[in-house]
């Protein structure tokens, strides 16, 4: 599973272009930062109030005021900038974030996303997720292809309460890379050793299979 996650985050990292401002969700998306070359000119936003997330500080060098949106100590890169929460979400909602990477409980073929609540079981609150998926120019879902029990998470129609409608642009899993289009979910890349039949068998939505499928 560690390999699956590594494959996912490495692939997601390739979406970033020089000059992009990115926002990485808590959990697996955070790991994407490790695979974006430092010299690529990508800046990362921490929605609690700054741009320019840098590496984790050494033990003993943590600064109580410099933490990420998960509350973990980080550093701020040279060229970073701090701001208040209204400005942070003005940046997000206003389309100034180029890419956001988030996990998902469910995604469907309309690009609907559910990733913040399982009624009666898990009610952590939506935090900044609803604003991020509405505001960011590109929304990339980074997740394992199925639940731990093997049930599909890419559905014809989400069953859980939504985070937003029609917001997802790309889905990256350990099986492949999928683009959400107006016609449905198009399979763009397959992971090594994965066939179209295999990825479809683990996906409830019917994947659109183009003539050319790349290697992930």
């Amino acid at each position: 599973m560690a390999d699956a996650r590594e494959m996912i985050v490495k692939r997601v990292a390739k979406f970033f272009r020089p000059g992009d401002l990115g926002n990485l969700g808590i959990g697996m998306p955070t790991l994407v930062a490790n695979y974006i070359p430092a010299d690529k000119g990508v800046m990362l936003q921490s929605e609690n109030g700054f741009i320019g997330i840098g590496p984790t500080p050494k033990a003993g060098e943590e600064d109580k005021d410099t933490v990420n949106a998960g509350g973990m100590p980080v550093t701020i890169m040279p060229g970073g900038a701090c701001f208040d929460s209204a400005t942070s979400f003005a940046l997000i909602r206003g389309g100034h974030v180029n890419i956001t990477v988030l996990g998902a409980l469910e995604v469907d073929e309309k690009g609907n996303l559910a990733n913040w609540i399982v009624p009666g079981k898990l009610v952590p609150g939506m935090g900044g997720a609803m604003d991020l998926v509405v505001g960011a120019q590109q929304v990339i879902i980074a997740m394992e292809h199925t639940t731990k029990e093997g049930a599909p998470k890419i559905l014809r129609k989400c069953t859980l309460p939504l985070t937003a409608v029609n917001c997802v642009d790309w889905i990256v899993t350990e099986l492949g890379v999928m683009e959400v289009t107006e016609s449905g979910i198009v399979l763009r890349e397959l992971a090594p050793g994965v066939t179209v039949e295999k990825i479809q068998s683990k996906t409830e939505a019917t994947l659109i299979i183009p003539e050319q499928i790349g290697a992930m």
Partner: protein, 215 residues
């Protein structure tokens, strides 16, 4: 009349049933001495407004754990298991608001706006009970302003006129709540003389601040 007060003087200002806005994101940027005071005084039936309910033993989360909160208006409660428990058992009301909407509602309260239209939450359970407006073919939710009786603010530096400077990610909701409450109480790590802050580095003008305590 000096704005600098002792914690004992400030204790007099807190009361049951107040609506309190607090600075902080998880525990960064929350005025811990003022939360200590609220815990110690044991005021109850509070409505708290801020980003999250922090942790059981840190920041505003301590008020939740101590059952001092009647209602929390926040964007996230996942780091405080007591919030989840009290919410499920019905002992505490929780209004979950998308973080950007929450920040903007507090800003609107402080800025004298009657509300704003946001695309966030359209098509989700967040839209329940809210007016929807379509502008230029796009659907928006009308979200309403939030105001409070008291704001408890954490600053890095304050001058004696109440001008505030925040530091790094500890800024977060602090400048917003300092505009949106009748009474603004600041806990500052450092208090400096008037004139020691350059007007361009001030993040909250002193005229908004009623009381300053040393952290």
């Amino acid at each position: 009349m000096s704005k600098i007060k002792t914690l004992d003087e400030v204790a007099e200002l807190f009361a049951d049933n107040q609506v309190i806005m607090f600075g902080g994101f998880l525990a960064a940027g929350t005025p811990e001495s003022l939360v200590d005071l609220l815990v110690k005084k044991g005021v109850r039936n509070l409505t708290i407004i801020g980003n999250d309910t922090s942790y059981v033993d840190r920041g505003i989360g301590r008020l939740v754990a101590g059952r001092q909160v009647k209602k929390a208006i926040v964007s996230h409660v996942g780091t405080n298991k007591e919030t989840g428990r009290l919410m499920t058992s019905g002992e505490m009301e929780v209004e979950l608001v998308p973080q950007g909407t929450l920040a903007e509602r507090i800003r609107a309260g402080g800025a004298g706006l009657g509300g704003f239209l946001t695309p966030t939450g359209v098509g989700t359970i967040v839209e329940e009970g809210k007016q929807k407006l379509t502008v230029n073919g796009v659907e928006y939710l009308l979200e309403l302003p939030l105001k409070a009786d008291v704001a408890i603010v954490k600053a890095w530096k304050a001058d004696k006129a109440g001008n505030l400077v925040y530091r790094r990610a500890a800024r977060n909701f602090n400048p917003l709540i300092a505009m949106a409450a009748k009474l603004v109480i600041v806990e500052a790590e450092e208090i400096v003389e008037i004139g020691q802050l350059d007007p361009d580095e001030v993040m909250t003008p002193g005229t908004l601040v009623d009381i300053i305590v040393k952290a």
